[in-house]
Amino acid sequence: MKLSRRGFLQVAGIAGTAAAGLGASTARASFHTSLDAKGENENAMLVDTTLCAGCRGCEAACAEANGLPAPASDEAVKGARRETAPEVFTVVNAFGPIGHDGDDRFAKRQCMHCLEPACASVCMVRALDKTPTGPVVYHGERCLGCRYCMVACPFEVPKYQYDKLAPLVRKCTFCPSRQAEGKKPACASVCPTGALTFGKRRALIELAKGRIYRNPEKYLHHVYGEHEAGGTDWLYISDVPFEQLGMKAVRDEPYPDKVQGALSAPPFVMTLWPPLLMGLYAFSKRRDALNGNHHEPGGAAAEAKKEDRHG
C-alpha cells in the first residue's frame, strides 16, 4: 500500500496541476472584458423601421463591401421571407400591409453585435471575439467548425458554409475596418432615408427615446436591443410590434450568465471530490480489515511473496 500511495500522489500531483489550471480558467465565465459594463461607448446602429423604404441599397452596399455576390433582384425576393446566409450578411424583408397607414413595413436583419455575445462566450477556441469598440469579429483561422455559436445565438445569426471543404462561420462583421478609418459601416453609408443612424450607443439610445417621446402615438415605447440579450449594439424602433417584423422576443439577461452557475462547478468538483472519494476508500478499507478481508492491490499474493523473500 505504501507504493500505491506514492503512485497516487504522483499522478494526483500532475493531474491536480492540470486541473487547477482548467478550473482557474473556466471560473472566469463572466464576459465583461475591458469594455464598460453597459457598452455605452461602443459604436452602435439605430434602425428606425418607420423610415425604411425597403430600397435594399444596404444589401447591395454590404455585398460589395464584403465581396459577396450581389443580392437578388427585387422581383425575385418579393413576398419572400428571407434569412441571412453564408453569402448574405443582411436582408431587408417586407411585412405587411401592417402599418396604420395600410402600408408595408421593412425590417433589416443582420448580426446584432451583443454587448455580451452568446456566440463568443461558447466558442472553445475564441474564434468569435467581442472587440472593445463594438463589433463581434470572427477569426476563421482559429475556428474548428463545432457550430456551437449557431446553437447559442438567440438571434440565429451565425450561418455555416456546409458546402465548403474548409467551412467558415459567416455573419455581418459591422465593417470594423471601415469603422477604424472613421467611416460608417457600408449599409449606413448608402441609406437614403435616414433609417440607419451610426454612432455611440449612449447617443443612439437617447436619439431613439427622443423620437419616441416626441411621437408617443406613433412609436412603440420600446427600443429593441437596449436590454435584449443583455443589450446589443444594433437598436431598433418601430410603430408596429417587433414580432410582426419577424424579430424574436429575446430575454433581457445576458445569455453567457445562464452558464455561469454550471461553469463555476469544476473547481469545487476538483477540490472536493478527491478527498471525499479517498475518505470513502479509507472507510471501505477499514471495513474490509474489520471483516478480515484483504482486498489491497497485490494483497495476499504480494504478502506471500514478501514472506518468501524473507524466508
Partner: protein, 407 residues
C-alpha cells in the same frame, strides 16, 4: 543474421499465440469467414467509405444539417450518447475500487474496456462532425475557457487518457510485461479518483451545453438544472449498460471466463437494486424540472406525450422493473429494465440535442442515410474491437499469472 534466425520462430510463435489465437494463419482466416463477420465488414466498410466521402465532398453532401439544425446525429448519437453509454467505466470502477464493493470486481474490466472504446469512437464521431477538425489544437493556443464545450473537450481528453491507462492493465498482462504492469497498478487508485472527477465534470457539462439555448430547446427538456440531470442519468446509463453488456458478453465469452467465476445473476440483481434507486431519483428530478418551470400544461401537448414516453416509459417503468426484479430475485426483470434504460437515455440525449432542439421550426431535421451509416459503422467497429480484445486479453477474468491483482 544468426540472431534473427534464432528469434524469428519465437516471434512467429508469439504472433500465433497472441494474435491468431493459436491457429495458423490460414485456419485463422478461415475461422473469420462467418455470416456475422461479413455483415460487420459491410457495415464498417460502408461507414468508413461515407467518412472518406464526407471529408472529400463536405458536410453538405453527406449530412442533412442546416442553418437551423447545426447539430445532428453525429453529435446527438455518436458523441452525446456514445459518452453517456460509456459511463459504466467510472460508475463501476468507483464502486469497486473506492467504495469497496469487491463482489463486482469480475465485471470492472469489461466495463472499462467498453468505456474506453466508447470514448474513442465518440471522438471519431466528433471529428467527422467538425468542419475543420485539424484546428483542434487551437484549444490550447486560444482556449475559450468560458465555453461549456471547452470543459467537455478537456475532460473527455483527460478521461480518455485515464481510461487508456486503466485498459493497459489487461494489455500488459496479455503481453506479460510485469514491470510496467506493477507500476500501473500503483497508480490505479489515483486513476479511479480522476475518472470520477473528470466524469462528473464532462457528463454534467454535456448538459450545460444547452443552458445557453433557453428559447431553442423545448421547455420540457430545458432546465437550469440540466447539468445535474445529465450527471444522474449518466450513472443510470452506466449501471444499465454494465447489465446489458454483462448479459451479452457472459454468454458470448463463456469460454474466456475461467477461474473466479462470477455469479452473473447475483451481480445483476445487486446492480438492479442500485439502478432502481438512481433511476427513481432521476425520475423525481425530471418531475422536479417540470414543477420548477410550471410546465404541467405542456404535458398535454404532443411534445408532452413524447416527454412522458421518455420519462415514464423509459425512466419510471425501468426503475420499477429494477425494483421488482431486485426485490423478488427475478433477473429477467432487471435485464429488461436495463435495456429500457439504455434506450431511454439515448432517447433523452437525442431529444435534448436534436429532436426537441428548435422544436418550433416549420421544417425538421431527419438524418441522411450517410449519417446513419457512419453511426452504425462506428457502433459495429466498437463491438468488433471489443470482441477482438476480449478474445485475447484478460478482460472477462484476470490472467492467472497475475493473480492477486486488485484492478
Amino acid at each position: 543474421m544468426a540472431s534473427t534466425a534464432l528469434t524469428a520462430p519465437a516471434r512467429s510463435d508469439w504472433f500465433r499465440e497472441k494474435i491468431l489465437l493459436g491457429m495458423d494463419l490460414r485456419t485463422y482466416l478461415r475461422s473469420l469467414a462467418t455470416p456475422l463477420n461479413a455483415l460487420a465488414a459491410v457495415l464498417i466498410g460502408l461507414g468508413f467509405t461515407v467518412l472518406v466521402y464526407r471529408f472529400a465532398a463536405g458536410l453538405a453532401s453527406a449530412t442533412n444539417l442546416s442553418q437551423a439544425q447545426p447539430w445532428g446525429l453525429w453529435i446527438g448519437f455518436d458523441m452525446m450518447s456514445g459518452i453517456v453509454l460509456a459511463a459504466g467505466g467510472f460508475t463501476l470502477g468507483s464502486a469497486v475500487h473506492l467504495f469497496g464493493m469487491h463482489e463486482y470486481h469480475p465485471i470492472v474490466r469489461p466495463a472499462i474496456l467498453t468505456a474506453f472504446l466508447g470514448y474513442v469512437l465518440a471522438v471519431v464521431g466528433l471529428m467527422a462532425d467538425l468542419g475543420k477538425p485539424w484546428n483542434f489544437f487551437n484549444m490550447m493556443l486560444t482556449p475559450g475557457s468560458t465555453s461549456a464545450l471547452f470543459e467537455v473537450a478537456c475532460c473527455v481528453l483527460m478521461y480518455t487518457t485515464v481510461l487508456l491507462l486503466e485498459f493497459l492493465v489487461p494489455v500488459f498482462e496479455w503481453l506479460g510485461w510485469r514491470k510496467v504492469h506493477a507500476r500501473l497498478e500503483q497508480a490505479m487508485l489515483a486513476l479511479t479518483v480522476l475518472s470520477v472527477v473528470f466524469s462528473t465534470m464532462h457528463q454534467s457539462a454535456l448538459g450545460s451545453l444547452f443552458l445557453i439555448a433557453p428559447a431553442k430547446l423545448h421547455p420540457l427538456w430545458y432546465s437550469p438544472y440540466i447539468f445535474i440531470f445529465f450527471f444522474i442519468s449518466a450513472i443510470c446509463a452506466g449501471i444499465s449498460m454494465v447489465i446489458v453488456e454483462g448479459s451479452l458478453t457472459h454468454r458470448i465469452f463463456q469460454h474466456r471466463i475461467t477461474g473466479a467465476h462470477a455469479d452473473m445473476n447475483k451481480l445483476q440483481l445487486g446492480l438492479g437494486k442500485a439502478g432502481a434507486i438512481v433511476l427513481f431519483a432521476y425520475f423525481f428530478l425530471k418531475l422536479q424540472g417540470v414543477a420548477e418551470g410550471e410546465h404541467w400544461d405542456l404535458l398535454l401537448t404532443g411534445w408532452g406525450a413524447w416527454f412522458l414516453l421518455e420519462t415514464v416509459g423509459f425512466v419510471l417503468v425501468p426503475s420499477l422493473l429494477y425494483g421488482y426484479g431486485a426485490r423478488y430475485k427475478r433477473v429477467k426483470f432487471v435485464r429488461a429494465g436495463a435495456v429500457l434504460t439504455v434506450i431511454g437515455i439515448v432517447l433523452n440525449r437525442l431529444n435534448v440535442s436534436v429532436i426537441a432542439y428548435n422544436w418550433d421550426k416549420p421544417t425538421h431535421y431527419v438524418p441522411s442515410w450517410m449519417e446513419v451509416s457512419v453511426s452504425i459503422g462506428l457502433v459495429t467497429l466498437g463491438v468488433v474491437a471489443f470482441r477482438w480484445i476480449a478474445n485475447r486479453m484478460p478482460i472477462m477474468s484476470e490472467d492467472p499469472n497475475f493473480a492477486g491483482s486488485e484492478f
